[in-house]
Symmetry: C2
Subunit: 246 residues, 2 copies
């Protein structure tokens, strides 16, 4: 499968385009300084010794587990990741502080290569998101991180969560690719997402070098549902340039 036949790039966002771990861990520490914790634990100890990276991973795992469960049901009650994030958040802080901290998911920092690479990709393809995030969150993130999306497709606009098939089929249909699904490529750092995209006959591009996300097996074998492997978005932009330059 070659980029030559692709016209639309759909990007996973959390972990693939933005670095949730450092963004959120830093925000937790800053929040703790500004809004001391109501728990009896010693505030200083929480700042010095508490593993906020692990706390962040726990928060993120809660989101992954819940969206995966909801993806099987088609999300009939229209729950958003903003609600999941808030529900998963430990109740150590009061509601206002939790809201403030939760808002940090709206302004995650991109990986260093992301913004420049997306700008270059935007010259060759229609580029957008296919994310389990919700629209308001993605709009905030695109504005704060200057992500140059042509379109934003989200779980709350499409009515379910990845890896539910209807996320991929709706995204293809809305870009008029339902008869030519291979012209739509999913760009993601998650194997489960790419496996579902391939089940729906999309082209699949694995971003292998995101330290917080999935890696290829140690023996270097590439699962057969992956068409293209790149280390990061910069490598994808270079590949596009080499493949598609006139």
């Amino acid at each position: 499968m070659s980029l030559r036949n692709v016209s639309v790039l759909y990007h996973d966002v959390f972990g693939t385009v933005v670095d949730w771990q450092s963004s959120i861990s830093d925000a937790c520490r800053a929040t703790l300084r500004a809004h001391p914790c109501r728990s009896p634990l010693d505030q200083q100890q929480l700042l010095d010794d508490y593993d906020w990276d692990e706390f962040t991973r726990h928060w993120r795992r809660g989101y992954m587990v819940t969206t995966r469960q909801l993806s099987h049901t088609g999300n009939p009650h229209g729950i958003t990741v903003d609600q999941i994030h808030l529900d998963t958040l430990d109740h150590a802080w009061d509601a206002t502080t939790r809201q403030h901290l939760n808002q940090r998911w709206h302004t995650l920092t991109p990986w260093p290569d992301s913004v420049h690479a997306l700008r270059r990709l935007a010259a060759h393809f229609a580029i957008g998101t296919l994310t389990n995030g919700n629209l308001a969150l993605m709009v905030d993130m695109a504005r704060s991180a200057r992500l140059p999306w042509h379109f934003i497709l989200t779980a709350d606009t499409l009515g379910s969560f990845k890896p539910d098939d209807r996320m991929y089929t709706s995204a293809l249909r809305l870009m008029h690719l339902d008869q030519t699904p291979q012209r739509g490529a999913l760009v993601a750092a998650h194997l489960f997402d790419l496996e579902a995209a391939k089940r729906n006959r999309m082209t699949t591009i694995f971003v292998s070098g995101r330290p917080t996300e999935d890696s290829l097996p140690h023996d270097g074998t590439v699962p057969d549902y992956i068409d293209i492997v790149v280390r990061d978005l910069d490598e994808l932009a270079r590949l596009a340039q080499d493949t598609l330059a006139p």
Copy 2:
């Protein structure tokens, strides 16, 4: 109602942001030159004497009538404006040529003030579309006309057509404004659209100076469902600057 309480601007697009009439009339003439008409009418006469502005208005009216009808039904069959445009198009040309001409709706030319004004508005508000157009069409238009949308909400993502209430309520909910609908403003050159937006408690901004769209009554009275009147998007950007500058 003041811009001070608005955080999201939802824009109508056809007629409000882009000039469909001159774009399409020009495309019709160019298409006729490149793909002579199959009808027995004299080709030269069609080029010289035929009123392509009227033809374009007729094409546009077909779209207006059909979307208005479908808006009452909630568009159960998921018809897009691309399909409506094709169906409305006179069968004088073969399918390939009709497809080519229809594609011109994807690259309509903005009014002279639109792009610069939208860039300025994007500094103050989340700006996006709330249009009866479909997503693939709007993405093509945003890319060709360099419209700096933060988000694109369309009839096919929201599942109906304006002025169906669910278009406005869904747009508000997706931007987390369902509890504060007045923080969402509809910007449109069409009275029916603004009337529906006000019924859903949005702020309403009438763009009064688009020659192909609605005007205020000659006696200068402003209907009570309109909060703010501007001549064009440039005047709206100046108003935002004056109202919101620190």
